[in-house]
């Protein structure tokens, strides 16, 4: 119901916004409708209407104007409208972004079908560019948001002994900004798409079809999601920790979420700034990127990568946290070199803001920028190395319980090693000048983002599935999913390194015949990889509906989220959580239990 | 203008006035420097210093940035 009301108010808002604009334009002797400008003006009104409709007014904003906020409903219904419980929001994020993951994955299957042989088969070149661009931004959105959105929201507050996030209403707001992003991207594709990939480089993005405007508006909104979420995590982790939960006792996933949030809240503005400049160039006649007037397309690349390189750490830092979390609990060993890992994560945060121009070695930017960005970029391998030390040290001589989440976590180590090492070729100018914008790059970032973050995502998903749904997942289906995905993944992306070096460039609908054999092999492997998601989806649906009831602590893990029922009670804890030692005291003689739930105190009653 | 309630408020309000006067003086200096100087690097440096000082005064005295780490004062 709330969603329908949201749609109606969005349409009303859009009509109102474009109507006022149209009225002004007509009175100035112009046409009523101007696609770029009308969308730009109408969209914010549509967004406000949508937010008000899905519950933002009823449960929040009415208070500002002297009204009384209503109580949110209970039961299944609460998942379909504005809700402030971080656990509900975590599930909402999880389901939404898994759906987007599958949709963008389907786009990838289309891409691989088209590239199976030279020439055009499935798509026209225009359609190919639209599908490829949708795959890009869809997957980037999933990668940025799913780890923090789904698992950050669900488990971080419980892990630190909090009853909710610091700003539950902002949390609800940031989730409900997500559906408009997805809807706008889909409308953009229906309107003919945009052909600039997810990077939206001008001048092409200033000159192309109006789908670009919808893309820009959607992604600016998505940036807001990321910023609000990031702020919420930082404040929650700073101020909502339970008594005894010192900074040195935070589970490593919380540190990962904290570090990722630090980047998200500060750097995301770079992408927004770049996209706003494109919009201004399109609708307000400015010249940010018009060479003839003194503007420069290279400005966009600087502004864009100022965010978009740190963005990969927004994706990967929480992933590091989740993987190390799973490795420690499922090896039944303390996390190796905990303090070093925390230092490494913060080191990555610090370095992430000063490496962006390694994406621009071939852009024609000033020569003197090459050397410093080469050096700074390669410095990132030092803190990243510490993460590997921790991963290996943690499994070393442990008791490795080879369940599905553990398999994904171990695969992460393998994939990220390949991704990390191949990154050095791209940081190094003499090789990057050749490899930039080839399939080598495609393979590299899929090894870090998909082989890294998405594998970590599945480790986290299987690991916390019993907690979030109260059901056990099917282990056999989980293992089939893992092996198909792992093997398919290697067979897709290893050959891509080679075809890239050989001379195949990225984002192409067609290629010279010389690369046909490689591409046929990659495409067939791609379908194997894609098929693994059938088993995943089946597993999720079947297990959620009729899986066995999960115990409170099926993994016998130490951290706080496993000390409460599955799923947790409404305010997370029946009593007061008490933290008495570090989170990973496996096998440490005489160590007190990490946490237990004490009797309810008056403070939280 | 309505009267001020307490001695504490008077102290605080007087401090605000002092900060405002300092900001106003800095702004006037900025303007004079800008119309009278020809060297761009020197001008940029001076303006950066002046703007930095104004930013510092506003964040510290008007926005109470220190309450971020010192907590709320009790009354």
């Amino acid at each position: 119901m709330a969603i329908i009301l949201g749609f109606v108010l969005a349409v009303v808002g859009f009509t109102l916004g474009t109507g006022v604009l149209g009225g002004i334009r007509v009175s100035m002797g112009l046409e009523y409708w101007s696609t770029d400008l009308s969308w730009t003006i109408g969209y914010p009104f549509a967004l406000l209407g949508w937010l008000a409709g899905v519950g933002g007014w009823k449960y929040w904003a009415t208070e500002w104007f002297g009204g009384t906020a209503a109580q949110t409903p209970k039961g299944v219904k609460r998942y379909f409208e504005w809700n402030m419980d971080h656990k509900v929001i975590g599930v909402q994020y999880g389901v939404t972004f898994v759906a987007l993951l599958l949709l963008s994955g389907l786009a990838a299957m289309g891409i691989r079908y088209e590239l199976m042989q030279p020439g055009m088969q499935l798509f026209t070149q225009d359609q190919y560019n639209a599908v490829m661009s949708f795959h890009g931004i869809g997957m980037v959105a999933v990668a940025v948001a799913i780890m923090l959105g789904a698992f950050g929201n669900y488990v971080v507050p419980i892990m630190i002994g909090a009853h909710d996030m610091a700003f539950p209403r902002v949390n609800a707001l940031s989730y409900w900004l997500v559906p408009p992003v997805a809807i706008m991207l889909v409308i953009a594709v229906i309107m003919g798409g945009w052909d600039t990939g997810w990077t939206a480089y001008p001048p092409l993005s200033v000159l192309n079809k109006s789908g670009q405007v919808l893309f820009n508006l959607a992604v600016i909104t998505f940036g807001l999601v990321s910023i609000l979420g990031g702020i919420n995590f930082i404040v929650t982790i700073v101020y909502e920790r339970a008594p005894g939960m010192t900074w040195g006792r935070l589970p490593i996933f919380v540190w990962g979420a904290f570090a990722g949030s630090l980047i998200a809240f500060f750097f995301t503005q770079g992408f927004a700034a770049g996209l706003i400049m494109i919009l201004l160039d399109r609708v307000a006649n400015t010249s940010f990127f018009h060479a003839a007037e003194g503007g420069s397309p290279i400005l966009y690349e600087h502004v864009f990568w100022f965010y978009s390189h740190p963005a990969v750490y927004v994706m990967v830092l929480p992933a590091f946290g989740a993987v190390l979390e799973v490795l420690s609990h499922m090896s039944r060993k303390p996390l190796y070199a905990y303090k070093w890992v925390v230092g490494a994560m913060l080191g990555i945060v610090a370095l992430s803001g000063v490496v962006w121009a390694h994406h621009m070695f071939t852009s024609g930017m000033e020569d003197y920028l090459h050397a410093p960005f080469l050096v700074l970029t390669e410095m990132i391998s030092i803190p990243t190395g510490i993460i590997f030390l921790a991963a290996i040290g943690t499994i070393w001589a442990g008791r490795l319980w080879m369940r599905t989440p553990m398999l994904f976590a171990l695969a992460f180590i393998f994939n990220f090693t390949v991704g990390g090492l191949t990154g050095i070729y791209l940081a190094d100018v003499p090789t990057d000048i050749h490899l930039h914008d080839t399939y080598f790059v495609v393979a590299h970032f899929h090894y870090t983002i998909m082989g890294g973050e998405i594998f970590a995502l599945f480790a986290a998903l299987y690991y916390w599935f019993p907690k979030m749904t109260g059901r056990e997942f099917n282990e056999t289906l989980g293992k089939i999913h893992f092996w198909l995905m792992f093997i398919g993944f290697q067979l897709v992306f290893i050959p891509m390194f080679q075809v890239g070096v050989k001379g195949m460039n990225r984002r192409v609908a067609d290629y010279p015949d010389a690369y046909a054999d490689f591409n046929r092999f990659i495409s067939i492997s791609g379908f194997v990889l894609g098929s693994s998601f059938i088993f995943f989806t089946a597993n999720m649906i079947l297990s959620w509906v009729k899986g066995r009831r999960a115990a409170a602590n099926p993994w016998h893990a130490t951290t706080l989220e496993w000390q409460v029922s599955s799923p947790p009670p409404e305010h997370n804890f029946e009593g007061t959580p008490v933290i008495e030692s570090g989170p990973y005291e496996y096998g440490v003689p005489g160590a007190p239990k990490h946490a237990h739930i004490g009797p309810a105190s008056a403070e939280h009653a | 203008m309505s009267t001020l309630n307490s001695a504490a408020e008077q102290v605080a309000q007087r401090r605000g006035l002092m900060v405002f006067l300092a900001l106003a003086v800095l702004t006037v200096i900025e303007y004079i420097v800008a119309v009278s100087l020809d060297s761009v690097p020197v001008l940029v440096a001076l303006l950066a210093v002046a703007a930095g000082a104004k930013c510092w005064a506003i964040t510290v005295y008007f926005m109470h940035v220190s309450k971020l780490w010192r907590g709320e004062e009790a009354h």
Binding site: Y338, I382, R399 | -
Partner: protein, 243 residues
Amino acid sequence: MSRHVMIVGVLWVFFTALALAGAAAMNPFPTVGAEEAEFSDHAFRIMTFMGAPVFGFVIAALVYNIARFRSSGQPSEDGPPFKGGGMIPRAWLGVTTALAVVVMIYPGLTGLAEMRSDRSYDLEVNVTGYRWSWSAQYPDGEFTSNEIVLPKDQRVRFNVTAPAGDVLHSFWVPAFRLKIDAVPGQTNYLWITPTELGDGANDAAFRVQCAELCGLNHAGMRMNVRVVEPDEFEAWVAEKAGN
């Protein structure tokens, strides 16, 4: 414990050798068509050579621990409580830092310096990228051509640009291993000395390929490249200029 370390050590050597053999067997490079290509491939090989032991170590540790310490059922006890203080993290940090510094300096910074060292040229070609085609202009002969013909062993400078009002393109010839963006309103330069005869008609490495997404026909934005003997080049220039 030392037995585990020893076995991992053996596996490390094994996987490193395997990685190196695999890299050697793949011979990933396209045709080497210029001095610059040898230079880039050399840097590539150096990094593969240095990366192989790192890769080998991680895989050795991973494989050994999975093989030796796996448990299909729920483990009945905790593992040994190593918390990772003391010398190991420090040593690790030292080694990874040293490796990073080495890669930064060689082939990184030294390579960068060498790439920039020679900016002389015998021949100049103006290259312009349009949506969606390339054009090459030979200033000496003052003619334009829709293929690039270069004399072997002569140093050429490409002046790469795109007209104001067009979009970004990128000038890339895989056989030469160099690329530079064609930016509207800005001219960027590439220096290349072709060392091998070649023709895009029978080797895809000898093609100009746009490497920056530029819209509809980005994939098809190619131009043929031919490297010929100097006298043949002179003849070609004379013929083109005569028309």
